[in-house]
Symmetry: C2
């Protein structure tokens, strides 16, 4: 795409994201109990939930529901529950990754300490489950039970993916393959961010629909393209737009496609040195070592390799989108899903 | 009670607890997915769940169900889900309280680090929710939905109670009253450990039953008596039997009935010194300061005061037990509930 096209896509997608957020935000805010304890619980929940995240997950759920002829209102509790759970994951992930910044601000545990942050994450998780119970009156027992199943699956998959990633860092595992990386991203990102939100949207619109697995393929490829792009931005993005520490993944020792490509290119001496760097406690990693890793990445073209892979996965996602949404109604919702894909692959934040 | 009676009660209760655990343990073990990632997730979950906890919560649920004429099998998923959630809370609580020991062993985060421990707690929480979904086939949609409501309430109350306690420590709040303490214990302990397990057991046995609030009063008083006794044991228990650090609550700065009694007795100079001690980071609290606090506790009779209060709350729990279980069937299950109360007030571990 030309720069002008990229800008036009970005404007359209961001406007639509804002429109979906307007639907979801009041549902989420109503889900926060209006009672004590405020200072050490609900004020922190509210601060987390009113920080402007993009709201990609609820938007995908709502857009998919409407694209298949469903009413937006019927998907609102599920879309809002996904966003609440996403925020619960973020707060715990930032603790687990020892991340200092998120959305351009200090993370919850940096600002309020690990104890309160663990508890705030747990509370958003419980609030997400509470919202899902609204489905029973809205959608009936049977469809609600199916949506519970979707949430059950997405929770367990996400926690398994997180355990894979944390385990690699903990054991300083340096021989993760591309296959390992793809499985980890499927588990950690694709299910909860892309597959289940679209499946649930379609299921609410057409409860009798049987081919929901088409969304698995679409969401898997979209998730990979998204995650690789996220890994790239983490290394070379603009801190002000991206909102996290640039190079933070290197300091955290995260295993990315970029790093697994780099490892395959290195000679024995470089490999040993990179392994030693990744095996250190985070606090002991020095900025000249980080510069050296950047130099290697440039030398071996690992970032460019990852970008090419992201484009290939985006192509696969385009193909699967056409298949999964083949009988969707043309209109702004379907158009949003299409543009979102382009936006996510070309995004710079 | 005489020492001989105490020993006899202990033997009977521990035998019955073991019998209930035998019912619950296989359900919990079956709930652990048999797949990867094992080393950094499910092995840790299994290690946590096979450490012998007493299993008081599931036992109360099963015993209450049977005492009201229900089949034990119908309460097994709910009883097991309570125990899973309890273990999820324990792992996160130990992180939040920076506790080093639990059940005589290093806590999960001491052994495996905070990142994996946060994730393991989240996984046990998700597994608890998954087990609850078994109720739909077993008990029907309506009763299952009511049990979801009970779990929703117990989760939120527990997290609110935890926020209260963490907030007091964080702000070094030294003027917490007995009322504050009682409200915190109701939220942090009584709902999930005593009130909801008995309510759910009775509800499963007699879905048409209307007076479930009698269990609220019973469980509230039992929870208080239990928690005060726990606070006492934390200060003067036998480490080998109690399983946690003796005096650990002082190092964590926990606000207990004992501490709130002590504060009311101190003169201005002592108050300021105790406040300064409690306001320090945990690592800076020295053992001679802890000895000084023990000396004050002895001088002002604060531990004896708490023991007397625990006995009064146990009396109130006895009265409410007679009311809540008035139409229960005599037999070993009802007898267990009665003896459990005596056991918990007189326990030394």
């Amino acid at each position: 795409m030309t720069d002008a096209t990229v800008s036009a896509v970005r404007r359209q997608v961001e406007a639509r994201l804002a429109a979906y957020r307007e639907q979801v935000a009041p549902v989420i805010l109503r889900a926060i109990p209006r009672r004590e304890p405020r200072k050490h619980l609900y004020d922190l929940v509210e601060a987390q939930l009113t920080q402007e995240g993009k709201g990609i997950r609820p938007a995908l759920c709502l857009a998919t529901c409407r694209a298949f002829g469903g009413e937006l209102n019927r998907a609102l509790p599920s879309a809002s529950a996904v966003e609440l759970l996403h925020n619960a994951f973020l707060v715990h992930d930032d603790i687990e990754d020892e991340s200092d910044f998120r959305r351009g601000r200090p993370t919850m545990h940096r600002e309020h300490g690990v104890p309160l942050a663990v508890n705030v994450g747990d509370a958003m998780n419980a609030m997400s489950a509470r919202l899902l119970r609204d489905n029973i009156a809205l959608l009936g027992a049977e469809l609600s039970a199916r949506i519970f199943d979707e949430f059950d699956h997405l929770s367990i998959e996400t926690l398994e993916g997180q355990a894979m990633e944390l385990g690699w860092i903990r054991d300083n595992c340096c021989d993760t393959t591309e296959q390992d990386y793809l499985l980890m991203v499927l588990k950690k990102t694709s299910w909860y961010s892309f597959i289940h939100p679209t499946r649930i949207g379609a299921m609410i619109a057409q409860p009798e629909r049987e081919d929901l697995d088409a969304f698995n393929r679409f969401g898997f490829f979209l998730g990979i393209a998204f995650q690789i792009q996220d890994d790239v931005l983490n290394l070379i993005g603009d801190r002000n737009r991206y909102g996290k520490e640039i190079g933070g993944d290197l300091l955290e020792g995260k295993r990315t496609l970029i790093l697994s490509h780099l490892f395959q290119q290195l000679n024995g001496h470089e490999k040993a040195r990179l392994r030693a760097f990744l095996g250190k406690p985070r606090q002991q990693r020095m900025s000249r070592e980080v510069s050296w890793v950047y130099e290697l990445l440039r030398l071996y073209g690992s970032i460019e390799y990852a970008r090419t892979a992201a484009r290939a996965f985006a192509d696969a996602a385009r193909t699967e989108l056409r298949s999964a949404y083949a009988d969707a109604q043309p209109g702004e919702d379907l158009e949003f899903v299409r543009l979102l894909l382009e936006y996510m692959v070309e995004r710079d934040a």
